[in-house]
Symmetry: C2
Amino acid sequence: MNVFWRKIIKSSVISAFLWGALLTTTASAEVLNQQQKQTMKQLSQTSMSSDLSYQLIESLTTEVGPRLMGSEGDKKAVEWAVNKMQSLGFDKVWTEEVTGTFWQRGEAQAKVLAPYPQNLVAVALGGSVGTGKNGLTAEIAHFDSLDDLNAVADNSLAGKIAFISYRMERHVDGHGYGQAVGARVNGASIAAQKGASAILIRSVGTDNNRIGHTGVMRYQANINKVPAAALSNPDADMLVNQLARGEAVKVYLKLTPSTDEKVVARSANVIGEITGSEFPEQIVAIGAHLDSWDVGTGALDDGMGVGIVMSAAKQIQQLTQAPKRTIRVILFAAEEVGLLGAKQYMIDHKDEIDNHIIGAEWDFGTGEIYKMTTGVGQKALAQTKELAAFLAPLGVEFSQANDAKAQSDMGMLSAAGMPSMNFAPDGSRYFDYHHTENDTLDKIEVDALKQATTVYTLFSYFAANAEIDFRK
Amino acid sequence: MNVFWRKIIKSSVISAFLWGALLTTTASAEVLNQQQKQTMKQLSQTSMSSDLSYQLIESLTTEVGPRLMGSEGDKKAVEWAVNKMQSLGFDKVWTEEVTGTFWQRGEAQAKVLAPYPQNLVAVALGGSVGTGKNGLTAEIAHFDSLDDLNAVADNSLAGKIAFISYRMERHVDGHGYGQAVGARVNGASIAAQKGASAILIRSVGTDNNRIGHTGVMRYQANINKVPAAALSNPDADMLVNQLARGEAVKVYLKLTPSTDEKVVARSANVIGEITGSEFPEQIVAIGAHLDSWDVGTGALDDGMGVGIVMSAAKQIQQLTQAPKRTIRVILFAAEEVGLLGAKQYMIDHKDEIDNHIIGAEWDFGTGEIYKMTTGVGQKALAQTKELAAFLAPLGVEFSQANDAKAQSDMGMLSAAGMPSMNFAPDGSRYFDYHHTENDTLDKIEVDALKQATTVYTLFSYFAANAEIDFRK
């Protein structure tokens, strides 16, 4: 939010004047009445001065901590979410089982043996097989990118560890992630196809801390499964510097992750509702994912989303008048290990997808929301601009693109035809911490959290009370 | 350096004009002649455009890495320094043995067991005893500061782990370190006196990374030795948040460091000289320490100092004319574990302390030098101002205090009467990385390194060629 608007919102005298201007604006197709506009004003103020979303994240990260699908922490997180939604006074709270497997990290050790022995900070990629308890030792075959690895002949890397040193770029919209993440997700099978016995990648992250970034990887069918790990950025630098000297670089790697494929890991989507007073079957869906990687406490990914959407619903729950449509908070299970919660939700709710009249998810960014993009019908687009006028004072611009899909889990609902909103936050610092031990409470940007919570609050109220058919 | 002066130095046209002004300035007690002033100008330009100090740090951190007193890395560092000094063309290069003990870190594990089980990132303090391989479990007794711990009754903490959560403050001159480091150095014995079975402190550091800061600690005689470790800042936050809920917090701690007191660890001060042409027995001493903690690669602490002083001497070595006085580069051994190299130097050179006509050490900071403080006689003070005029274009102000002691190791020489200089760099980011795994090459601020190298170069040339008796 820019400073001007922040000051204005904090100053009740000036804001009364400005809100007055907003409230008396007339347009041909106004969808909110005067009382609803007054409520939007009130919600903006109460939400900006509430620290509920921070308190929820503090509680989740302190009392639960890491919550990888299938772990003890994951079970506790489900209990935590049910209890919190109930104590916040949600009208309905329930869970829907999600099953999968439980991948356990084990130990990670990596070191350069020659020419210059040094320890390397490495982290196993999620889903990786292990090296065996004795580890493996091999010469490094260095590639600047996944494309370069892909370009060499099959079986040409026999007895070597492939190393991809591509460095993720920092951008406000996080698009550097898409350019970098292929090496993490697909690198192992490509390396195996080339004959390599393991793969190391430079962490998909923008920081320079000696902390590796984990994240999911996938093995292709019918290709030998080889161990996969990420080096921290400074360790990748050091390895590149050793390689630059032209001698063979030998590395020892030990990873001891495990997955018992026979044991079914059980988790759950946790769902809570503020029931609509006039159209209870019509759902305004706001979501986040409850699971996290095992390394940090998942404050940003996605504790921040959990705090925002629970708090937004609570803001509306505490109004004297119930929303016309139902506000459904969906905390998805097992996003990190492959959107298992979202997939299960699509199965469990296949008969009511059309009732999801619009949806939005928070699963990216640490900074303030700077852009709202709609993904709605043409008539609805004109009507939805009325919301944009309420978000502008928060520093949110309105994008003309109208091509939004909901983020992350809810992208599946968007793909199934749910009208969607995308609220784009500043993501320039997000990948400093993403999927690392460093994803902890102190990384929450308190002012940005309040602004984002307010945006989700205003959106939820607007979508639940303005009688817009977002598909039209 | 401010942008204006940086631009000026980079622009040969303008700089010719400005240097001209500097060179024709007349003062009653000028100590440099026109040719020497021209050489100062030339040195400023060659040093600012040289990346030798960076290359030295890159080499040390890539080819040697961590170099804790007594470790394999430490031995390699001594060889590295001798070889580098020789290949740089120093006139004399030699080593002087330093002995001590070799403390090995072993393993560190810490976790909260109750009320909310979570892992803690902890690092053993240097010199700590271990917990035994089974670790220990105890309730936390929480103190905001070392003073608060000191205030409780002896033996009142039986069966508990003392935890000091004091947070170091960030300041440009690093003075927050002095306020925080007492808990690290003396906390264990005070905790033991109060009956505690171990001590945990919040890391003495200004970052918010999940990386603990190690550093030396000392046991007082006749007090039970208890294990001592530092938590990363985010882990200390989380522990404080658990404690804030009012329930007993139980922590498991395992540290397995070891020291074989019977084995003598051998290291060496490495010394190199550019021999003086007129007064070879008169020594301008510039120093840094060669050892580092075992966790990072010691790029900042004190690879940066090593690079700066070796490079400064090289700048002068490559002039056509040798300096009048000898420039002695001293790379001290075993600074981190208690200034063992400096103590040995004082013994080895007790008969030539008076020949050290002036000295300066770099062992602090990552940013540009902003202040020069002298510690010289009154007549010399007036003469030394001539150096300040050459440093001003680099953004270095002249302090009137005239109370400088040399930093770190060389403080012992200052205490023994050696005239001293202190060049104060921006230290505001230094304690983000100090004594951590994160002290790696990428943390070097390249422009600041060039500026600092240039300051040490100009100081060394000035002190070796201006015939000032700095004691007078």
